[in-house]
Subunit: 242 residues, 2 copies
């Protein structure tokens, strides 16, 4: 029954995650003219899409890999590789999202990294980079001792969920900030809740709903890979023979 | 050793939580003229202070009650009452924080609840109200069966942490929004990072650091009240004799 509920939730999460990305694309497409990579405002438009897709949706998919019941039995190696690879894809999308906003700012001589949104966002990406490097070095490469792995595993798990929460906060403050920029025109101020405001606010709330559902699945004990002893848990990549 | 580390963290959290509130007071005092309850902009200034104090700091203190080693042994009733009372205090501060912003908006004929910050904030307060009522009704009053308590406990715990995460996101987007309002003057735009921007951004980052530390303590297994069987765990208030 727990397995059935899990797949139902994965289905709901896939749908909700796709809606989050598609809504962000539609927001940038319909109200802000679409996408480009030439340093214009259309380059900026890639930023919200890449951040929602990378830091929230693909990141979440990568985090949930060990919750798939198929990953509970047999060799852990393929799932470790899937976990690390999906997180790497999330990181690449995130860095592209950062490049988009820096490229636009630099082209238009707009200051970088001044708003609280940007401070939090860049901190989140920094944590994500450290987390990925730590995960790769300690849990995938063979050198780390079982003692070190056991010590770092709860920290790795905690920061995994925390980075998603910080990404959600960054997305919320980012959408809020963008709407204050784009709806400052007196004919359609943000405070009159024009179509764009309702649509983008709703997109933000959907991102929060998605993130909360992912965090719920991550912490629910019935969907955690059963512990089979420290030897298997701490098995390094290059010692596995499967 | 785990106990010593816990008290060290509680000390750090008390200091950091106080700094978060004091910094918010200082921001509103030094750059925005202080506080009042007359519907003027000085009434609005109570909003950030009450939200950081209520939804983040007192809320966190209330959440951590069951992590105090003293609460691990003996009757659970006093700790249940402390948990519920502190959360009630957090809720009262939060509602006062909402009243402050509605009072200012209504007095100045400014629209309510249009920004994503306000949508997320009001949703967070709604979840908090449901969570408190559910906790009071199911875990403190004597009617609920042990089956119902066991069913709802993980949901109560999950939403406890989630509401704090949502409150952090609301605070971040709120500080960001306030700075875009107050620093739109061309002589000291937000993008030039004047003193107020650096100070308020730093306050936001401190709130995030505080919230993450609290979430870390909440999930760390070594600081959880040891499970002593469902009978004690599910003990309702009015059946306790202590």
């Amino acid at each position: 029954m727990a397995e059935g509920r899990f797949y139902l939730l994965v289905l709901a999460l896939s749908a909700l995650g796709s809606v989050c990305v598609l809504f962000t694309v539609y927001w940038m497409w319909s109200w802000h003219g679409g996408f480009a990579w030439d340093g214009s405002i259309l380059t900026f438009n890639c930023h919200p899409v890449l951040m929602v897709a990378g830091m929230v949706v693909v990141y979440s998919a990568a985090s949930l890999v060990y919750r798939l019941p198929q990953s509970w039995v047999g060799p852990k190696l393929p799932w470790k590789i899937a976990h690390a690879s999906l997180h790497l894809l999330a990181f690449v999308l995130t860095v592209l999202g950062l490049v988009a906003v820096f490229r636009y700012h630099n082209n238009k001589h707009i200051a970088n990294l001044y708003s609280l949104h940007s401070w939090l966002g860049i901190t989140t990406v920094f944590f994500f980079a450290c987390q990925w490097l730590l995960g790769f070095t300690v849990f995938l490469l063979p050198w780390a001792s079982l003692w070190l792995r056991s010590l770092l595993k709860p920290i790795h798990v905690f920061f995994g969920a925390s980075i998603l929460a910080l990404a959600m906060a960054s997305v919320i403050s980012g959408i809020n900030e963008k709407l204050f920029f784009s709806l400052k025109n007196a004919t359609r101020p943000y405070s009159s809740l024009p179509g764009e405001a309702v649509f983008a606010n709703s997109t933000g709330m959907l991102v929060v709903a998605f993130g909360l559902l992912v965090l719920y699945v991550l912490q629910a004990s019935s969907w955690k890979r059963p512990e089979v002893g420290i030897t298997t848990e701490g098995q390094p990549l290059l010692r596995e023979r499967e």
